[in-house]
């Protein structure tokens, strides 16, 4: 290895550029992987609901004489009794929809209490079953807990609520979920609500929100002409049921528009569209860079073999086997790659520290750097294999030819 290294040092200019290219590829690869990991982690967070079997559908009415509560009751009755449907609920939003309501909840009454922000899902006693969420403490709503919102002077909030575990822990960090049951929280500063149940998880509608895991089910139905129904089907029936429900609702009342049928999977895909596009773009860029780098290695090694044909012949004449020649070029590339990946490791960490400071990115996992080094070493060795094999085929008789 010594003579190869010394020879490289005496001919630095040819190899510095390729080592630099490897270093840049490595730095970009590592940081792209860090971003991809970060985005994948965000995308991989469970919403808490039965995503595979849920869809939403809208009813928009323009009838000035619309009996909204009757319409909702008839619609839900129709949907819940439809074959293949597990349950359905009138609600205002769903996880990842990127639009919804939030409110502050405090553990003490008064204007000066510190309220914790929480996403609100208005549901009835079918909410837990429709979303397919796990109740880990307390109980579900009873029909008697549920009320219609009365804009003409009725109570603004019902008396009971169900919280996500994350919200319960945000309010009562020292308690277990079971201990939170029966505790009172305050909404709009002074209105007491009793916590009757804790669900394991149900994300807020906004994926970027720092409190995305904090949500609250409120046993209240509200609306005047627009209704969003969330429907859960039996496994495997969703896509079959959607057009049937669309048609059944439209047929039941022709004086309205039934629209917006969208599966939870589509809601998720739309919410993470930018993230998945970013991941694809980064994968493409890193693949392209790696391909360019490997082509660079192939080019440099091919040029190097062509330039040193006589030298290779001489080495063969002096006793080198084909294997020795192959090993020589592989080792030479390994040394160049090592300089590149070591430089790249330093550069990658420096860029990552900068990105963590500027973009609040999570620092790269420790193993990404060695994995990227290994990947580029392997890429380098594979790229040089062709030229190295050509070199090993150079005849020893080349040594005596006058070129």
């Amino acid at each position: 290895m010594g003579p190869i290294w010394r020879a490289l040092l005496r001919n630095k200019s040819s190899y510095v550029l390729i080592a630099l290219q490897i270093a840049l590829t490595m730095a970009l690869m590592v940081n792209a992987i860090a971003i991809i990991q970060e985005r994948s982690r965000l995308m991989g967070r469970p919403s808490g609901v039965d995503e595979e079997n849920i869809f939403q559908i809208y009813s928009s009415s323009f009838d000035p004489d619309l009996e909204y509560q009757s319409m909702v009751a008839a619609d839900l009755d129709l949907i819940r009794n439809h074959p293949g449907v597990v349950d359905a609920v009138l609600t205002n939003s769903m996880p990842l929809r990127q639009g919804g309501w939030s409110q502050g909840l405090a553990i003490a009454p008064g204007d000066n209490s510190d309220a914790v922000g929480v996403a609100i899902y208005f549901v009835d006693e079918h909410g837990v079953g429709t979303f397919g969420i796990d109740l880990i403490a307390g109980r579900n709503f009873l029909p008697t807990d549920v009320r219609w919102f009365d804009p003409d002077g009725g109570p603004r909030w019902p008396e009971t609520i169900i919280l996500s575990n994350a919200m319960a822990m945000a309010l009562f960090p020292e308690s277990t979920a079971a201990e939170v049951i029966g505790r009172v929280a305050y909404i709009e500063n002074n209105l007491p609500v009793t916590i009757i149940g804790i669900i394991d998880r149900m994300q807020a509608p906004w994926k970027e929100w720092s409190g995305v895991e904090r949500s609250m089910l409120v046993p209240m139905k509200r609306g005047d002409d627009f209704a969003r129904y969330v429907v859960r089907t039996e496994t495997g029936y969703r896509d079959e049921v959607i057009p049937q429900i669309e048609k059944a609702l439209a047929d039941r009342d022709t004086g309205r528009i039934i629209d917006g049928a969208q599966t939870m999977n589509d809601v998720r895909a739309a919410a993470y569209l930018e993230d998945s596009a970013m991941i694809k773009l980064l994968v493409f860029i890193v693949s392209l860079l790696t391909a360019i780098t490997s082509l660079g290695i192939v080019g440099l090694a091919s040029f190097s073999v062509a330039r040193r044909t006589k030298q290779i012949g001489t080495r063969r004449a002096l006793g080198a086997t084909r294997r020795s020649i192959l090993r020589y070029f592989m080792l030479e590339n390994f040394l160049i790659s090592t300089v590149g990946v070591l430089g790249g490791a330093v550069l990658a960490v420096a860029i990552n520290i900068w990105m963590v400071q500027i973009f609040a990115l999570t620092p790269i996992a420790w193993y990404v750097v060695p994995v990227a080094m290994l990947a580029l070493w392997i890429v380098g060795q594979l790229a040089v294999l062709g030229p190295a094999r050509r070199a090993s085929q150079v005849s020893p008789a080349t040594a005596t030819r006058s070129i």
């Binding site: 001919n11 001489t314 002096l318 086997t321 006058s402």
Partner: protein
């Protein structure tokens, strides 16, 4: 030492068949200094390549130091070259990126000697060719004569049974050529067999035996060379 029996070498392309050597037989005894002369294209280089195991041949039989080389695979031929033969090339064929020490080290590494043994041998041969003080120099920092001395040192470092020299003075001025020839004569006097290809009659005449190659065949030996030179 070296025995070629009825060696033929034919290069074939789609349209042309070239007989580089025809029915070529030669025996070289241990300790000889043989010069090989002949016009361009006569087959001198092909003879040298075959003798040096640098390429194979179409038919015939070639034994080197008692070992039949006909059926040897590439790796065995490489090992045999490395152990038995030292090469000296017209254009020295030093590796420009390596210093003198590392250049001489090249065949020793392929032999698999440990570093102490390699160092001992390199120091010894560089001392013998008078370049012990230049071992950290690059080839480009030496004169042509000095470079050829390095190449001779490299050829001798493995203590081969014989040296194959291809126009060893072809790129040198007469003073340098003379000094290189003296060195070769000195090496030969210590027992190393030398076969030297040259087109210089005056140098060929300094060998103990001369062979002349024409049209791929051994044309005239010994005194015949003088006839050829005179014609």
């Amino acid at each position: 030492m070296l025995s070629m029996q009825n060696i033929s070498m034919v290069y074939r392309t789609e349209t042309v068949e070239t007989h580089a050597l025809r029915d070529f037989s030669l025996d070289v005894e241990e300790g000889e200094f043989v010069s090989v002369t002949g016009p361009s294209g006569s087959g001198k280089t092909t003879f040298l390549n075959i003798a040096g195991l640098l390429e194979g041949f179409t038919s015939g039989r070639y034994s080197l130091d008692g070992k039949d080389t006909t059926q040897l695979d590439d790796a065995s031929r490489s090992r045999l070259r490395n152990e038995k033969i030292g090469f000296i090339f017209q254009s020295f064929n030093l590796i420009p990126e390596l210093d003198i020490f590392d250049n001489v080290d090249v065949p020793l590494r392929y032999r698999g000697f440990d570093s102490a043994e390699r160092r001992r041998r390199i120091d010894s041969v560089l001392d013998m060719v008078g370049l012990a003080s230049r071992k950290k120099h690059l080839p480009s920092q030496l004169s042509g004569g000095q470079q050829q001395r390095v190449a001779i040192a490299r050829a001798l470092a493995g203590e081969p049974r014989f040296l194959l020299a291809d126009e060893p003075t072809g790129n040198l001025d007469s003073a340098m050529a003379d000094s290189v020839m003296e060195l070769l004569e000195d090496i030969n006097s210590k027992g190393t067999t030398i076969i030297m290809v040259t087109h210089e009659p005056s140098l060929a005449a300094r060998a103990r035996r001369n062979i002349f190659v024409r049209d791929g065949q051994l044309s005239v030996e010994d005194a015949g060379l003088k006839v050829a030179i005179g014609s």
